[in-house]
């Protein structure tokens, strides 16, 4: 079998597993609906927080409200995409503790793919519902000329945001493979993204915005792409070209995180030693 056939065969298997896990989720109807509700509540709570701050403290860092809203909308939509395609790494420590990873290692499918296919992320439905609505509203309200290159860049920015979030949580989940208690770091990081990922980072002191650019690169998720789109490229802490390359940098970061994950898997120690 050539590599193209193998690729399509692998996707057919993945599609069947996704369909099965979706049906499995439907077994508990109330839980299914509440899971969709989680996505909605999580995103709405961030919207409420963002709009409250925007209403009370307009003109953050010289950014008009509609531009700040675009940051929040891009981050939330890319977060929804992350939850849908990559979100299972967030809970890897549970798979390690339950011994599932030991089972994954014995099956003829890459472990990372098995982790991603372990269950259907119902909450992503809620995340995406709110994310798409907010993104549509933000794009509608902002006074920008939506030329083809700009539309292309906003799509690249959303995909880049998804990949950067995936890179962050894939790197953290590499730790879960050795230390399941590292889940606490993932939870905390998600809180940081929710709190600081939706505004112009230039309002924060340089040391913090620098940390959110080079240490925990949340600036690349939505802040830099939105800055490029709206022309607010001064005071970003990096050259405008670097901000514009955010989607590419996110792709590189994700590839790097996958290598780290692979390396960590080779050093995996099950909970039973």
């Amino acid at each position: 079998m050539d590599s193209v056939s193998r690729f399509f065969a692998a996707w057919r298997v993945a599609r069947r597993i996704i369909a099965l896990t979706f049906r499995a989720r439907l077994e508990y109807r109330a839980e299914f609906l509440m899971n969709v509700g989680i996505g909605i509540v999580w995103q709405v709570s961030i919207i409420v927080f963002a709009t409250v701050l925007l209403g009370r403290f307009p003109g953050m860092g010289g950014w008009p409200s509609d531009a700040v809203l675009l940051i929040a909308a891009m981050r939330m939509l890319s977060h929804g995409l992350f939850v849908l395609f990559f979100g299972r790494v967030y809970f890897l420590s549970l798979f390690v503790q339950e011994g599932f990873v030991d089972g994954f290692l014995l099956r003829p499918m890459p472990v990372h793919r098995q982790v991603q296919l372990a269950y259907f992320p119902t909450n992503a439905i809620g995340d995406l519902l709110v994310g798409v609505s907010m993104f549509t509203g933000a794009v509608w309200s902002i006074d920008l000329d939506w030329t083809l290159p700009r539309i292309g860049y906003v799509i690249a920015g959303l995909l880049g945001g998804m990949l950067m979030e995936a890179a962050i949580f894939t790197s953290l989940s590499s730790l879960h493979l050795r230390f399941p208690a590292a889940q606490a770091w993932s939870i905390w990081t998600e809180e940081l993204l929710a709190t600081f990922g939706n505004y112009p980072l230039k309002i924060l002191p340089g040391v913090i915005s620098g940390a959110f650019t080079f240490l925990l690169p949340l600036a690349f998720i939505a802040y830099f792409p939105a800055a490029v789109l709206t022309g607010h490229t001064s005071g970003l802490g990096v050259p405008a070209a670097v901000a514009a390359a955010a989607p590419l940098i996110a792709l590189a970061a994700y590839v790097g995180s996958r290598y780290l994950w692979k390396w960590s898997l080779r050093h995996y120690t099950g909970v039973n030693g």
């Binding site: 508990y28 839980e31 709570s45 409250v52 953050m60 208690a181 905390w188 924060l204 913090i208």
Partner: protein, 274 residues
């Protein structure tokens, strides 16, 4: 051969309550990580609110120092319930799914009391962290002193009542999984609702009127917004009796409801297939 006396209530409570804190203390890495996270969280929250107030003196009746104090205290208060009991396989949902919940009903300690002791231990451990962090924040000037001595005392009483309300809310959701089998989503929704409606994300004073009105009829604001607003002086001491009465009513209502649910839950537990 001498029979070993069964432990009396206090040692039993003590041994149960210290399970999670002991597990934490035996893992220096986790303690260091908690300290780093808490320190960074306080630093970041302080920076965010100071930056927001850079262009204004007062907003929603709060000056910068009040807003920073509120936000930092909220960050510390959420630390009180920050322990990860799931890692120790001792959450209600895990026991229900593994079938081990039956042991809670076979032990000499009644399940509701066991649950209470574990929660007390967890909250006391979290409180120790919050208290140390509070002292450090006061020493470094990050946190302002309570608006008055009376406000400080009112804050302490109200915080205690708020923690009891929070305990019952968590218990309520845990008890629901005796009926729903799955409650992870309900727990997460509760956590988001709690954070949003209690003022953990931002002081409730910044929210629109309809949001504040909605919060007023829900128990969540009793857990955080009331004690913190008393501390910073946003709720005057003259309102204290009414606020404490509301908190006490929530405690009473939730205590009665959860007591009833414990009784019903016991009737649903089966051993070895019934």
């Amino acid at each position: 051969m001498t029979a070993t006396a069964a432990p009396t209530t206090f040692p039993r409570a003590w041994r149960t309550a210290r399970v999670t804190p002991l597990a934490e203390l035996l893992a220096p890495g986790r303690i260091a990580a908690t300290a780093v996270r808490l320190g960074l969280q306080v630093f970041l929250v302080t920076c965010l609110w100071r930056a927001l107030y850079a262009g204004t003196h007062s907003s929603a009746g709060l000056v910068k120092e009040q807003a920073v104090s509120y936000a930092v205290l909220a960050a510390l208060a959420t630390r009180i319930r920050g322990l990860d009991r799931g890692a120790g396989r001792d959450t209600v949902i895990q026991h229900i799914q593994y079938g081990t919940i039956v042991y809670w009903f076979l032990r000499p300690v009644p399940p509701q009391r066991y649950y209470l002791y574990r929660a007390l231990g967890d909250q006391a451990y979290g409180f120790a962290w919050a208290a140390v962090a509070y002292a450090l924040c006061r020493l470094t000037g990050v946190l302002q002193a309570p608006a008055s001595a009376g406000a400080g005392a009112a804050f302490a009483v109200s915080l205690l009542l708020g923690q009891i309300v929070l305990y019952y809310l968590t218990l309520l959701i845990d008890l629901l999984c005796f009926w729903t089998i799955q409650n992870n989503s309900a727990l997460l929704i509760l956590q988001f609702a709690q954070n949003l409606l209690s003022g953990a994300y931002a002081p409730l004073w910044f929210f629109p009127g309809w949001f504040v009105a909605m919060s007023a009829v829900l128990p969540f604001q009793s857990t955080l917004n009331v004690p913190l607003s008393l501390y910073i002086g946003r709720i005057p001491l003259s309102d204290l009796p009414a606020q404490l009465a509301v908190q006490a009513v929530w405690v009473l209502l939730l205590a009665l409801l959860t007591r009833l649910l414990w009784r019903r839950a016991a009737a649903r537990v089966v051993s070895q297939g019934g």
